[in-house]
């Protein structure tokens, strides 16, 4: 019987390697897998590349990983959000590299990897500093920039409900990057508040089909 639940946080993040690219879902403080980020801190992997919309908040989760010197690079659209002192210190000390990518291009680059594509042309960033060094092409009279797929070795996700196969539904705007990151990583790990019986979710309303999910950590509604 398929059951993707793991026994605890350590098992959830077991095997994440040094140098891994980790997709961290969430927007602001909403839809972030806090427990999985803490578990990754315990687990010890280092030299990580983090893909996230922002760059950590306070001294928990991603910020704690940064403060512990475990993050080599952040791919994000907007580091300056909330208390981003962890990122700012590392950035100023040049111990961390920043790749700034527009929010919609981060998403679409992950979609491209998820969909098995080799890259795409987009008009976003054309004629701007963020296109410097990138291949461009005029298509139908509009300058486009070539964007490469973005792949995670691991995705750390947060959902509201899962079944034992890993079908997921989310809570309102906590959906954000979760479904697209779930599709774009080799190993997709989700922290969920609640497990439900297989077959109890509406098959028309499942947002992330189980095929994209590898491990489920049940944290409970208190998280």
């Amino acid at each position: 019987m398929i059951d993707k639940r793991v026994a605890g946080p350590a098992e959830a993040v077991a095997g994440v390697k040094d140098g891994a690219t980790v997709l961290v879902a969430g927007f602001g403080t909403v839809g972030i897998a806090d427990d999985l980020l803490e578990a990754l801190h315990e687990q010890g992997a280092t030299n990580l590349t983090i893909v996230h919309n922002n760059a950590g908040n306070g001294d928990v989760g991603l910020a704690r990983l940064i403060n512990s010197g475990r993050v080599a690079k952040v791919i994000c659209s907007y580091p300056r959000s909330g208390d981003y002192s962890a990122f700012l210190n590392a950035y100023r000390n040049k111990t961390l590299e920043l790749e700034l990518v527009p929010q919609g291009i981060i998403s679409e680059r992950m979609h491209a990897h998820a969909a098995g594509l080799g890259g795409f042309f987009s008009p976003v960033t054309a004629h701007t500093k963020l296109a410097e060094g990138k291949e461009t092409r005029e298509i139908d009279g509009v300058l486009h920039v070539f964007e490469k797929p973005l792949k995670g070795d691991v995705a750390l996700l947060r959902a509201m409900k899962a079944d034992r196969w890993g079908n997921l539904i989310y809570n309102q705007s906590a959906r954000n990057f979760n479904p697209i990151m779930a599709m774009a990583a080799d190993l997709s790990i989700v922290q969920v508040d609640e497990m439900v019986e297989l077959g109890s979710m509406d098959p028309e309303a499942v947002v992330t089909p189980s095929i994209f999910i590898d491990r489920i950590l049940v944290v409970g509604a208190t998280s």
């Binding site: 602001g28 659209s77 976003v124 054309a126 963020l130």
Partner: protein
């Protein structure tokens, strides 16, 4: 002769921008002043607001005590969903933006050029990391890009320029500019002043604006209701 005029306050600017949002329009409001426009859509008009983080059908701020920690807008403030509103993931939210599905994107700006070039993502302060968020996606995406900003910077220098000095967000995208002094359209024939605050003259407005302004034949006074600043 001294020119006497009173600039709009921020709520009046938001009010003016809101008057142009039509029934049935799908609209993204940038963080900050643009977001205020949602409060001033005329009664009875259904306008559907989009948020980059996966919401179509944003409602007003929640009443104190009714905030839902899983329901925030792109500015990371608590929000609500109106009837008919839906959630989607980030890639679909930006598909809506980039694919010209939104009717209007109303954005803040540092500078706009005569050609409609937009600079609103970085002031190039070297002591802080840059951040772009969804600014570039929004600037190329919507069917129409409108900007809302103070007419001049805090030193009284023009922000409507012959060419932007700050790094571009996107070239040639802005179609209309709402400032605290005027409403200006960006056209292939140059900048046309559609409205000016009472007491303003084209000459005075031109002093505060780098590229040449033309007064539209049917220009009128910009007279929002009184609002607390």
């Amino acid at each position: 002769m001294t020119t006497t005029y009173k600039p709009l306050n921020r709520d009046q600017m938001a009010w003016r921008a809101a008057q142009d949002l039509q029934e049935g329009a799908y609209v993204n409001l940038g963080i900050g002043m643009p977001t205020r426009a949602a409060s001033y859509v005329p009664d009875g008009r259904e306008v559907i607001f989009h948020s980059e983080n996966g919401i179509l059908g944003l409602g007003p701020k929640p009443e104190p005590g009714t905030e839902d920690e899983n329901l925030i807008d792109a500015g990371k403030n608590y929000t609500t969903l109106i009837k008919g509103g839906v959630f989607m993931h980030h890639a679909d939210a930006f598909l809506m933006i980039r694919g010209k599905h939104l009717d209007v994107s109303l954005l803040g700006a540092f500078e706009v050029s005569e050609a409609g070039d937009l600079a609103n993502w970085t002031t190039e302060d070297p002591s802080f990391p840059p951040g772009v968020g969804g600014a570039m996606d929004l600037a190329v995406g919507a069917k129409e890009i409108r900007v809302i900003m103070d007419h001049t910077d805090k030193n009284g220098k023009p922000r409507i320029l012959n060419k932007c000095r700050l790094p571009l967000t996107a070239p040639g995208c802005v179609k209309r500019i709402y400032t605290n002094l005027a409403v200006i359209d960006v056209t292939a024939q140059g900048l046309f002043v559609r409205e000016m605050v009472e007491g303003m003259t084209l000459e005075k407005l031109q002093e505060l604006t780098e590229p040449k302004l033309q007064l539209a034949n049917d220009w009128r006074a910009l007279t929002p209701p009184a609002m607390a600043a």
